[in-house]
């Protein structure tokens, strides 16, 4: 069964229907996934029962449907073990649709200037993050969107100029890059500026918590904390999830937690790390499971090594989730799970 690609982004078609169509397609055309899925019962129409292959498969195999040649191959920057993930992308126009559609759910491309700061990616031209930024810049190039030169401070005048033209500035960057910018040129940005950090909390100098990073950016650039957003994506995922900032007025003792939401063609679940076929209850920490239908020609169903927790669930669907870093292997096996904490 070849899935109707046009329905992937059609929210009027129930997710379960789209997911099962893609599942059948992937099972048929991706031998690695077919072998994996054969060890589990048929999902019988329930997307939650679709088995999620370990994300490591993107390191161990070329995950692309039989007979299809990739237009490009995204590559991760590598892990501590030196292994890199490879994500062959068969249809860049589909990937572009995924990137732009979700971005537009949160921001208007008609009226914004996107500035991207991406140090550390020079040695990885196959980065999916760079490609995503390029697409967004391309869409808004007429508004002065561009990559910022590395190591140079931001120019207050440019910000003022764009603001005077009524543009909203969106500054995209990895955590360590944004911290560098904050040190180079602290100044008060126009209040409608949005900063989107794309992760990378472990800098070459130190490790920083997401809350700490957001507070620093908010303080240095004199922006309300609601203007500091987060993006969750990875080489293995075609799509992205965004999390809006928490308004400073709410940031009191019981600070609400910043939560990511996914596009309607992506379903995020939190899985029991011991038994990933079990979906965790709301509030229970586990590994983040991804079903990204925009990965239709590679592998849409996989289990990340990221730790997450569902913040809000409606009818079994995760509406908002939190990313808590990498899952540590030491959290498994042995007595540690067996000590009561009640």
């Amino acid at each position: 069964m070849t899935p109707d690609v046009s329905t992937l982004f059609d929210a009027s078609v129930p997710y379960a229907e789209r997911a099962m169509q893609v599942f059948e397609h992937v099972k048929k055309n991706l031998p690695v996934y077919r072998t994996f899925a054969a060890s589990f019962p048929d999902p019988a129409g329930d997307p939650h029962q679709i088995p999620l292959i370990p994300v490591r498969a993107f390191q161990d195999f070329d995950l692309i449907a039989d007979g299809i040649h990739p237009e490009t191959v995204f590559q991760s920057s590598g892990t501590t073990a030196g292994l890199k993930s490879r994500h062959p992308v068969a249809d860049l126009s589909l990937a572009r649709t995924a990137v732009i559609t979700e971005f537009q759910r949160h921001f208007s491309l008609d009226n914004c200037t996107i500035l991207c700061y991406a140090p550390g990616y020079a040695d990885n031209p196959q980065s999916s993050l760079l490609w995503m930024m390029e697409q967004l810049i391309h869409q808004t190039a007429q508004h002065g969107s561009r990559f910022l030169p590395l190591g140079e401070p931001l120019h207050r005048e440019e910000w003022s100029h764009l603001n005077a033209q009524g543009r909203q500035i969106i500054l995209f960057g990895a955590a360590f890059g944004l911290l560098d910018l904050a040190e180079l040129a602290p100044f008060a940005m126009p209040s409608n500026t949005v900063i989107i950090e794309t992760g990378g909390m472990k800098t070459y100098r130190r490790e920083v918590r997401r809350e700490e990073l957001h507070q620093t950016l908010s303080d240095v650039f004199r922006l309300d904390a609601s203007q500091i957003w987060s993006e969750y994506g990875m080489c293995e995922m075609t799509s992205q999830c965004y999390a809006p900032g928490i308004p400073s007025s709410l940031a009191t003792g019981d600070q609400p937690i910043q939560g990511f939401s996914s596009p309607h063609w992506v379903q995020v679940t939190i899985r029991d790390p011991q038994n990933p076929m079990r979906i965790c209850e709301e509030g229970e920490e586990g590994k983040i499971g991804i079903m990204d239908l925009a990965n239709v020609h590679s592998c849409p169903f996989f289990l990340t090594e990221d730790k997450g927790v569902s913040l809000e669930t409606v009818d079994g669907e995760v509406i908002r989730f939190q990313v808590l870093g990498r899952w540590k292997r030491s959290q498994l096996r042995g007595c540690n799970f067996l000590i009561d904490t009640d």
């Binding site: 589990f40 490591r56 038994n275 096996r333 042995g334 007595c335 067996l338 000590i339």
Partner: protein, 428 residues
């Protein structure tokens, strides 16, 4: 170094030996009721309970207690300390050694029991209490009832050595050295002088909040934390300390893997063998099945929780099996046990066993074993060899015979530390 213990310590050891005999063998022992309740609630299988109790019977005789005391030069303390033992619940009475070490040392025991295994330790404490009744009790810990927890809540949650009855404690009353509970809140303001538990560094972080909130442990209290996850064996099927037709080396290997469904850090998680898994898979499968039958797997009526636990383990292993199959690795999948041969003798950290019953098979020699032990020492509890002789390991420790994997001697060293020695060192 062997030193003679003082008379009080000697008396204590004798009384404890009598207590253990009474606990294990007497018709009046509360152990039977504890076993019945444990079985009724499906916490462990009958086979696993019998196996563990028989191991205690073999390894905790009077001479074992005396040898242990002398090895560590134990003297009765002038100012006994309060030592909190936090029990895990993965095996029946997994904290047996810790309980005995604290009482033998003459210090005060306070137990945070696991709700997965409350009855067995309580029955042991009850018998110990009876036999050690003449022992002088020095300044037992004073607990206070926190404002936010009503005394009703406390008493209803409290489990004491008076098995099955509530101890109506008020803030003026002091629990004895036999105090044990399944609830952290009952330990409010205990301010223990030391704590022993098995878990991981992450677990310490997790419970740190509770320890702080309830002042359960003094700020400066030493904590003995065991963090290893599994054990490793060098298995040469051609070498056996038994060497009879009726008893093959596979029997010991199967026991070391299958007992307690592979839970526990003494269960084998990595096998290094000069022979590939495929070559041995038939014989090994037969022995695993036999052992699982012996362990009560699948053949015993267990409650829903027990069945669910095993099913969860099987599902967890099935997930791993599915991916190993994609990698075209040789596997033996037998109920709650999955053995997988890796292509590379240098096992990556991400490939180490992370679920009970998961076993990695590596083809290699003794050098391979030593290299793996060196690389993954922090994860590995014990190193076994299926030979009568022991081997010195790179870190100065020694291997243990495979057939003692699930029946360790009383003075074995979890994570390389004898708890009795640790107590003697910190408390003097």
């Amino acid at each position: 170094m062997n030193k003679l213990e003082d008379q009080q310590t000697r008396t204590r050891a004798n009384q404890m030996a009598e207590a253990l005999q009474d606990w294990l063998q007497s018709k009046e022992s509360p152990l039977q009721e504890a076993v019945d309740r444990t079985l009724a609630e499906g916490l462990f299988s009958r086979s696993d309970l019998q196996y563990q109790l028989s191991a205690f019977h073999e390894t905790a005789k009077e001479q074992d207690l005396i040898r242990w005391v002398r090895k560590n030069a134990i003297r009765t303390p002038i100012n006994p300390k309060t030592i909190l033992a936090v029990h895990a619940g993965n095996l029946p009475l997994v904290s047996f050694q810790d309980i005995l070490a604290i009482f033998l040392s003459g210090h005060q025991y306070v137990g945070k029991l696991s709700s997965s295994d409350p009855y067995l330790p309580l029955s042991l404490l009850e018998v110990l209490k009876k036999h050690l009744k003449n022992q002088e009790v020095h300044d037992p810990p004073k607990l206070c009832v926190p404002d936010q927890i009503t005394s009703d809540q406390i008493t209803s949650n409290l489990i004491t050595s008076d098995h099955g009855t509530s101890d109506h404690r008020t803030s003026d009353q002091r629990p004895s050295a036999f105090f044990a509970t399944t609830h952290w809140a009952d330990l409010y303001q205990l301010a223990a002088d030391a704590m022993i538990f098995s878990g991981s560094a992450d677990t310490v972080d997790q419970i740190q909040g509770m320890l702080k909130e309830y002042s359960i442990v003094r700020k400066s209290a030493p904590i003995l934390c065991r963090t290893t996850h599994f054990s490793i064996v060098y298995f040469d099927p051609g070498s056996s300390i038994h060497g009879t037709l009726a008893y093959s080396p596979y029997t010991d290997l199967a026991e070391a893997i299958c007992r307690y469904n592979g839970n526990g850090c003494r269960s084998v998680g990595i096998v290094v063998s000069p022979v590939g898994l495929e070559q041995l898979s038939c014989e090994l499968t037969d022995h695993l099945e036999l052992c699982l039958m012996k362990c009560g797997y699948g053949g015993e009526a267990r409650d829903r929780a027990g069945i669910e636990r095993v099913q969860t383990q099987e599902q967890a292993l099935r997930y791993r099996y599915a991916y190993h199959k994609v990698r075209n690795r040789t596997q033996v999948f037998c109920g709650p046990v999955l053995i997988t041969e890796m292509e590379n003798p240098t096992v990556q950290e991400s490939e180490l066993p992370s679920v009970a019953g998961e076993v990695i098979w590596v083809r290699g020699d003794m050098d391979t074993l030593m290299a793996l032990v060196h690389t993954h020492r922090a994860d590995i509890q014990s190193v076994y060899i299926n030979e009568a002789s022991t081997q010195s390991l790179p870190d100065g420790s020694e291997s243990e015979p495979l057939n003692r994997a699930q029946k360790p001697p009383l003075d074995w060293k979890p994570d390389g530390i004898d708890p009795l020695h640790w107590i003697a060192e910190f408390a003097g």
